[in-house]
Amino acid sequence: MQILFYNSAARRIKVKMLIVDDDAKSITLLEDLLRLRNIEVLKASNGRDALALLTPELKCCFIDIRLPDMSGSVVARRIREKYAAMCLVAYTASVLSNEKDELIRSNLFDAVLLKPLKLEEFEKVMTALE
């Protein structure tokens, strides 16, 4: 089952998204799933690199919460300050109820993808983004 964008807009301008995660394999998993959808992927393994890669044409950022240099929430807040409309998705293994509550209370993210990732959850988030 191949999932690709077939609408004309997608063919003209390639959609760009950013993944920030210090676990390389977690990036690869998400990266490949996005590439299958013909999305161009930028990658960063820490908060500082992620902020340096920000461009206005990024449609969405997938942000790990436990980053080595700063919290993913801080990265999200910085991005929000610059690009209020950018779509932010938390991509995290912090699934304990208090951690989730904190994410929801912070009101920084449009969606949350929990690790281990479920393909159907990923599909849901992608559908919501379109």
């Binding site: 089952m1 191949q2 999932i3 676990d23 394999k25 977690s26 998993l29 490949d32 799933l33 299958l36 436990r66 293994a93 912090s94 699934v95 304990l96 208090n98 951690e99 690790k115 281990p116 990732l117 479920k118 393909l119």
Partner: protein, 444 residues
């Protein structure tokens, strides 16, 4: 008794004593005994002591014998009656031993002095409207009055002594009471201090426990995060392979990918259960109470498991009592968790073509909701019943499971004060078992 005491006392001082219990008896004994002194009580069975004295003094044979009246001396008229009857002396019943002997010695000396004394002249005395005719000699009268005075003084002394004794006892008692009160106050102070100390210790312990609990929660969060990160790769890439996004898999590749997913899922359930368990053990698991639509949860469970039931031709039914309240106060996530746990066990152990019934009812008193899962599986052998809800107890270890599910269920049900148990085989059935748990409803 007093008579006997007196006898003993006198005999002890080497007097010979003859006792009589009445006036007539005493008079009858006079000649034979010929006493040196007569000691007489005032109140006796036949006549009084005054009468005895009068008769003795009227008899010339006995007139010189001193008569001592033995009395409590409560009435001044007794003094006059004593004088009137010619008695020689009064002796108080409260006399000490020493005084008594001294007095008797004196009487004996005086008797010899006054033997063959001047004949008596009589005179009248009126007291309280009564007239007394006194015939005693002046000497005897004065002796007699002195003896009464002495008795009075003795009694007074005794009274004073008694008062002193009382005072001493009183002050001793006051001292005791005071000491006792001090003792009590000290006890209360000590206890209060101990309680304060204990309280401080408890506060310290509570703070330590809070810190330990915080540290534990943090540790749990870290472990959870660290375990999930590699699982993200294992389960994530296995899902991508299984979805065949990068080309079709061969038979074995499909099979192995399935195993990786299954084992990964199992590992994930273990992690989840252990985390839940440590949260309960750390006391950090709390109920988040909301309005829960029990019937809704049950229907949702039916929908989720319908496919699985159909695949194994399992007859899967819901029996929800129409008396169920629309909503109850409860922790929705945990109630779901318990229900799914019981259902997943039922599906694990029910053979194809078997039956699973999910039911919910309200007890007669309306005090609690009971939710149960009944299956037609192998049932729970007697020897497992007791340990069934302990961690890592599995009746059949060949079935997938963490061995923590029922233990967690029990912990959760206990959190809201409910009960969880099993009946195997269920009432009126030949095989299988019925797991049930309760959710108490708030009183009216």
């Amino acid at each position: 008794m007093q008579l006997q005491q007196l006898c003993h006392l006198l005999e002890k001082h080497n007097y010979e004593v003859a006792a009589a219990s009445g006036v007539v008896e005493a008079l009858g004994m006079m000649e034979q005994v010929s006493p040196a002194v007569v000691i007489s009580d005032i109140i006796m069975q036949d006549m009084d002591g005054f009468e005895l004295c009068r008769r003795l003094k009227a008899d010339s044979r006995y007139k010189p014998i001193p008569v001592v009246l033995y009395t409590v001396l409560a009435d001044p008229r007794d003094v006059l009656r004593g004088l009137e009857c010619g008695a020689d002396n009064f002796m108080a019943k409260s006399y000490g031993e020493e005084n008594l002997v001294v007095m008797i010695e004196q009487l004996l000396v005086r008797k010899s002095d006054s033997d063959g004394n001047i004949p008596p002249q009589g005179f009248e005395i009126t007291f309280n409207g009564e007239t007394y005719f006194i015939t005693s000699t002046t000497q005897r009268s004065i002796d007699f009055l002195l003896s009464t005075y002495e008795v009075a003084v003795q009694m007074n002394r005794k009274l004073i002594k008694t008062q002193d004794d009382l005072k001493r006892v009183n002050s001793y008692m006051e001292g005791e009471v005071h000491r006792y009160r001090r003792h009590l106050e000290k006890l209360v102070e000590d206890r209060t201090e101990q309680i304060h100390l204990l309280n401080d210790q408890l506060l310290g312990l509570a703070e330590e426990a809070r810190q330990a609990s915080r540290a534990k929660s943090e540790f749990i969060a870290n472990i959870s995060h660290e375990l999930r990160t590699p699982l993200n790769s294992i389960l994530g890439f296995a899902q991508v392979l299984e979805a065949e996004y990068y080309g079709a898999l061969g038979e074995k590749q499909k099979e192995y990918t399935g195993y990786i997913l299954e084992a990964g899922q199992h590992l994930l359930s273990l992690i989840n259960d252990i985390l839940d368990l440590s949260k309960i053990e750390a006391g950090s698991m709390e109920l988040s109470l909301v309005k829960v639509d029990i019937a809704g949860i049950l229907e949702h469970a039916m929908i989720l498991l319908k496919e699985k039931a159909t695949a194994h031709s399992i007859h899967f039914r819901l029996e929800a009592s129409p008396l169920l309240p629309d909503t109850i106060e409860g922790d929705e996530r945990k109630i779901k968790q318990v229900i799914f746990n019981l259902l997943s066990n039922a599906f694990k152990f029910t053979p194809d073509n078997g039956e699973i019934v999910l039911s919910a009812s309200v007890d007669n008193t309306g005090g609690q909701v009971e939710i149960s899962v009944t299956d037609t599986g192998m049932g729970i052998p007697e020897q497992y019943r007791e340990k069934l809800f302990s961690p890592f107890t599995q009746v059949d270890s060949s079935k997938a499971g963490t061995g923590l599910g029922l233990h967690l269920c029990k912990k959760m049900v206990n959190l809201w004060g409910g009960k969880i148990d099993v009946v195997s085989p269920p009432e009126g059935a030949a095989r299988g078992c019925r797991f049930y748990f309760t959710i108490p409803l708030p009183g009216e």
